[in-house]
Symmetry: C2
Subunit: 359 residues, 2 copies
């Protein structure tokens, strides 16, 4: 086909010369070059793989008519500026997560994940079959942006702890890195919640500036090395299915031809699912490696007393947000109603199947 | 854009006339029309939705250059002839399931699901990150077909039973509709395994020609009405994540331009994930409705004695197949190794999260 394409282009050029028109043939083959900014650095796999795979699919499917250039955070120097850069049109789109923007617009908070919320298939079902996409567009409309799922981490682990948590009192004064919404919850339980730059986490944990921290899950944690110095790995509660987001400048999107819009939408959609699956495999591999090399590490769940206190504190923090923001309340109510229904199915299908087949 | 496109086509025609060439411009805008045959009827949602959504995406992304026409089983009259029709080139592609072809080629059996096998995310991770796709192409290569995931049902329920199964003896002589591989397993336990056409299942169960049957899960079972006459709904073991398949005639695929190949591959991939999510939502909705309207229905798991006997019989049936088919053994070994690793992650993530949050 390449040869035919080249011949055809020559013909088009010939026709342009003959007809004395200079725009029509280019309109047909017009190349759109877009810029995408990520909140992540250029090597943070699998987060960065999602937009990279998306851009590759778009280029191949569009036969080079839509090119998406990716600037990672090391390039644009503003990990948490991508929202404003897409809103302002300096970038056409971003790959990030909605819950980072709760300070700008609280309504965006629940679109990534919520503590004690849905699992990944439950959440995708909410987005695509349960009204979630409509609510996400409603929340982003004031910012003149569109938003789409951008990849799921699945269940995130509760964190690496140097000492076992046997009772609620063990949490009092515990120095933990746990940012965002979950950090607000843990602070209510008396933890000293701190935020420390990723590059300093290992040393802080090693030297005692931190007693505990949460990152993501085995697939991403393994490179950080926390398993070498904190032997208690707690199961998750705060991010049961973290869905990243693509943000797209609405005006720029509206200027794409219909077929390129469809190509972009489809590539974003599949790249999100694919990242979920990629991270699933990465976590399976990484945990297998960690468990083999560090057999002293124990998987723990918090005692009931602790979980109950976390749930109570979480309900209070959520109530503070829903009270102040009607649209946030509408989103959380929609999620809770969907989760209640979907969870019944999850329990009678995957959960009971897994329970019956524990080795 | 439509106006510009029309103008451009006119220009191309002009150039063809001027240059005295009649093929080049058509090569550029050539429309490929494909035919897809499904194993299902035209209303079997969500199975039929996957190829329908796929064809729609392909048409939109290709701007009408690749049109896929779908013939459901009522049209081509040969639900189980689609394999041969794609192999022989009467159809370009099919939407079906690999395990239907175990009689033609046993190596294709494990590519849909295996009893006591992987959950849906585990299985997608095996396909896309664990070597599954390579093994699937290897298994289909002798048939000159390519194969791709076509949509997942998630965990299928173990079936509707009129009487509770309290002991292994309760299964002896039980008349059950459970086709395929799982039927072979259940026959070893002394069940009278029968196959009955879908349209006659309800009446057979009502009149006692059947004591039990399995179909899919609440989302698809609800239309069949089994819940009205069989109050025990058993959890699944035999199809923990049934992935349907697209089959594509290899030669036809190789003749598509590269961009249309990418469009087709991407649309198939996303339609498969989407069907999994669609069915998840359908099952959540349907179970909520059934549980409300028929509160007498009980979700049951088989007693340990029964599960152990099923596992033993299953291992024997699998061993019979692996002994006779080296490639099937290679596929099953790959699945088992991946499952062993991935299941550890599933347990410490979703399973323990769900366990900690049972209401």
């Amino acid at each position: 086909m390449n040869i035919l394409r080249r011949k055809s282009t020559k013909l088009l050029l010939a026709s342009v010369l003959l007809a004395g028109l200079s725009t029509v043939s280019f309109a047909k083959e017009k190349v759109y070059t877009w810029k995408l900014a990520t909140t992540w650095g250029p090597t943070l796999s699998p987060f960065i793989d999602a937009p990279q795979n998306m851009a590759k699919m778009v280029e191949e499917m569009s036969n080079g008519r839509l090119i998406i250039k990716i600037d990672a955070a090391n390039k644009h120097k503003s990990a948490f500026g991508v929202f404003d850069m897409v809103k302002g049109g300096q970038y056409d789109m971003a790959h990030t997560a909605s819950y980072y923007w709760k300070g700008k617009d609280a309504n965006l908070l629940p679109l990534t994940t919520m503590p004690f919320g849905m699992t990944a298939p439950e959440q995708y079902a909410w987005f695509y079959q349960g009204g979630g996409m409509e609510l996400m567009q409603k929340a982003y409309a004031p910012h003149k942006m569109l938003s789409f799922p951008g990849g799921n981490t699945g269940n995130q682990m509760g964190g690496w702890f140097k000492k076992e948590i046997k009772a609620l009192d063990d949490l009092k004064g515990l120095k933990m890195r746990i940012p965002g919404f979950a950090g607000e919850v843990m602070a209510k339980l008396g933890l000293a919640v701190t935020n420390i730059a990723p590059g300093e986490l290992y040393t802080s944990l090693e030297r005692g500036a931190l007693d505990a921290l949460e990152w993501v899950g085995p697939g991403m944690d393994i490179k950080m090395g926390f398993h070498k110095i904190a032997p208690f790995y707690y199961t998750g509660w705060h991010e049961p299915s973290t869905e990243l987001q693509y943000l797209v400048n609405e005006k720029k999107f509206s200027k794409l031809p219909k077929d390129l819009q469809e190509i972009l939408l489809t590539a974003m959609r599949v790249s999100a699912y694919d990242m979920y699956i990629q991270n699933y495999a990465m976590s399976a591999d990484a945990w297998s490696k960690i468990a083999t090399e560090y057999p002293n590490i124990k998987i723990k769940t918090f005692p009931k007393e602790v979980m109950d206190a976390i749930k109570k504190a979480n309900a209070e923090v959520v109530a503070g947000y829903t009270k102040a923001n009607p649209l946030l309340k509408e989103i959380v109510d929609s999620q809770n109603a969907f989760q209640k229904k979907a969870r019944q199915w999850t329990i009678m299908s995957d959960y009971l199947y897994l329970k019956d087949n524990l080795e």
